[in-house]
């Protein structure tokens, strides 16, 4: 459980010459049992970006929608404010690392207490002091050294294209302009299940005759989750690198697979000089539904998990659903928490790299809670469109004892299956 301020107890008090121990003496010897030491709150709200933590008026709306609290963590922005007001140093508290920056609290907060701004700002100071979970520091180190948090070799970043069996041009070799620059991102390039989705998407693009190219080993992590986890310096290095590489090439549109990269390209890269029209791949594909030969029915009850960084952070809820509904035979069922109120997989804000730490402070994984919800709504397939999610939800299906009852697939895989471009997975 998360840290709570403990009442201060005098072990021993001497009352009229009589020695009394522990809480029994409180009735005889009036004393302070809680300090309301405001220095902790003052220190946090003095950090640029974290001022709004002091705005909380304790309504508790955030607690009801906080996925960490829902999954059995004693955590919510309201509680973070109160603990800090009571003198607990947020920089030393597990609370600092539990937020997945899913932004559901900000959606409902009447005072605009902005955890999306507070968390990275305060974490940045903790990271600078070396006070961060080791798992997270390892992911930062891997990103700095290899350009990806998985610690995979940079030169293998485009190895997945051999499995694509369709041409996937790499810009440095192509030496020609393309219409679409596909920013693949780390998990789609390296993770086995991420690569499955990349292969599927490459084949869909090829079948549509899209003129596209990727950066291959020149690409590095977009860095958005590292930024939210407190590594602003690393993010800036990555942003500058990617912007420099992209600026060498001619293209019309950036297409991203990862909603976190989408967020970086939409909101952060323009501040660093990289301002391109950027679409998530689902947004790119929707106007091309008519050209897709979706001939093989998928007769399954499918539910869709809105990625926090595509939905709440960037307002796109419809494109993934339009693609799913274009697949013949597919029955789309919505979970209770969907769209604006969608639940979080637990991977955002650095959560992807802190599963060990999180498990010590939260009753269950956020992904496990979500998988159970999908099953409650009778889904046979959980469709996703964020590369963090396939692995997280597949693990959660197994760990909750539901192996075989729910399949987790990327929307690109479902489209490719319906087009007959990949082997049927569902």
């Amino acid at each position: 459980m998360a840290q709570k301020a403990k009442p201060i107890e005098l072990d021993v008090a001497v009352v009229n010459g009589v020695t009394l121990t522990a809480s029994a003496n409180r009735m005889f010897e009036p004393r302070v049992i809680s300090e309301y030491d405001l220095s902790a709150l003052d220190a946090v709200t003095a950090i640029d970006g974290a001022q709004s933590l002091g705005y909380c008026y304790q309504c508790g709306k955030c607690t009801a929608v906080c996925p960490v609290d829902t999954a059995g963590g004693d955590y919510s922005p309201r509680k973070v404010f109160r603990r800090t007001q009571l003198g607990i140093d947020l920089l030393d508290s597990p609370d600092l690392w539990l937020c997945t920056t899913c932004s559901n609290c900000l959606r409902v907060c009447p005072k605009e207490v902005n955890m999306i701004s507070i968390m990275p700002a305060v974490r940045e100071q903790a990271v600078a002091d070396g006070r961060a979970p080791q798992e997270l520091l390892t992911a930062f180190e891997n990103t700095a050294r290899y350009g990806n948090p998985l610690g995979e070799p940079a030169r293998k970043r485009a190895d997945w294209i051999r499995r694509a069996e369709v041409p996937v041009p790499i810009m440095s070799q192509l030496k020609a302009p393309v219409d679409v620059l596909w920013f693949v991102e780390c998990y789609p390039a390296y993770h086995p299940r991420g690569k499955d989705a990349s292969v599927a998407l490459a084949r869909v693009l090829h079948a549509l005759g899209v003129d596209f190219g990727i950066l291959g080993s020149e690409e590095k992590c977009s860095g958005d989750s590292q930024r939210m986890a407190g590594e602003a310096g690393l993010f800036e290095m990555l942003a500058e690198h990617n912007i420099k590489v992209l600026s060498k090439y001619a293209f019309n549109t950036v297409m991203v697979t990862d909603p976190h990269a989408f967020n970086a390209f939409r909101h952060e890269y323009p501040k660093h000089g990289g301002d391109w029209t950027t679409l998530h791949y689902t947004q790119y594909l929707v106007p091309r539904i008519a050209q897709m030969e979706l001939i093989h029915p998928i007769n399954r009850r499918v539910t869709f998990h809105d990625p926090c960084y595509l939905g709440r952070h960037n307002g796109e809820y419809d494109a993934p659903r339009e693609l799913l509904q274009a697949i013949p035979g597919l029955e789309l069922v919505e979970m209770g928490r969907c769209r604006e109120n969608s639940y979080c997989c637990g991977g955002g804000g650095g959560g992807m790299w802190m599963d060990g730490f999180t498990s010590e402070h939260v009753g269950m994984r956020l992904s496990e809670r979500r998988v159970q919800e999908a099953l409650e709504w009778g889904a046979e397939v959980l469709a996703v469109t964020c590369p963090y999610e396939v692995s997280r939800f597949e693990d959660a299906v197994k760990s909750t004892g539901n192996a075989g009852l729910l399949q987790v697939v990327d929307i690109a895989e479902l489209l490719a299956q319906s087009m007959g471009l990949v082997e049927a997975r569902v």
Binding site: V32, I33, Q85
Partner: protein
Amino acid sequence: MSLSERVMVIGAGPAGLEAARGVADLDRQVLLVESKGQLGGTPYEHYATLTPHLRETGDVMRAMLDGINSHPLVDVRLETRVVASEGEAGHFRVTLENADGQRTEEEVGAVIVATGFSHFDPGRETQMYGYYEYDDVVTLVDAEHMMQNGRMVRPSTGEPPERVAFIQCVGSRDRQIGNTYCSKVCCGIASKQSIEIKRMLPNAKIFIFYIDMRMYGFWEDQIYWKAQEEHKVNYVRGIVTEIIKKGDKLLIKGEDTTMGRPMEVTMDLVILSVGMEPSRGTLQMGQIFGLPREPHGFLATVGEPLDTVSTPVAGVFVAGAAAGPKDIEDSVSMGGMAAAKAVGLLNRLARALV
């Protein structure tokens, strides 16, 4: 018997002043009776600044006072009390008594009672706040007096306080005390005072202990959010139950309800947010004019919510906190309405005579 066209206004606080101005501006003579030696009422006498804009009371109210003092149709009687009344609408004969005990009789056609409220006496509080035991436990009014003097200090030492606690709902919302109503303005005034204290003492730590924060309308962001966000005032839900001396500090005890745990913290200065009760003058006017009191003890009105100023006695109107807890906006609004109703009544009576 001829109709008296004059209106008597009793009490010269914001409600009475606005009522007098309204009647006079409608071209009727006003007899303005005030028991104190100056115009302006409770805010002018006791409050350094007004809520919500924190402007100095004198600056804000001066034009109002000058307008009354210079109005040819307003006859101001300071240090004067109403001691008796007989007659009816259009024909009241009232007896006034001045500071020297001299009595005069006056004829008026209508009466507006604007005799206001008094602050709750914390000695009657059932919680153990020790207002009369501890120098450093004061009321909102005591704090305003310190602000009027430009010196915010702990009365026990004369030094500025480092930690200040406001305790809300003192004398309000309490069945045992007999005041089951909310006094409406104390949340705003405590927040206003906390901003003023932070302006005077930027390093002071300020806490407001509350049951519910009652910041209706614009006060929500004009005072409450401003105090919290710009002046870092700490709002803690949970009321203090007792105050105990701890060395030269005060140990306040209560429950921190949002954390569900006991709270015992030391403070340098505790300010009790005392509520409103009907003033002695209000109770006396009720007796003299035969005005019934509503269940909370203030003067009853008829026709609420559409008519806030008519009493069950024809020709007698009430304005401001004599009718219940009111802020200044409420009070002046009622003053204006009472003026219109009183003059309207006299016009109707005059037409009936023709």
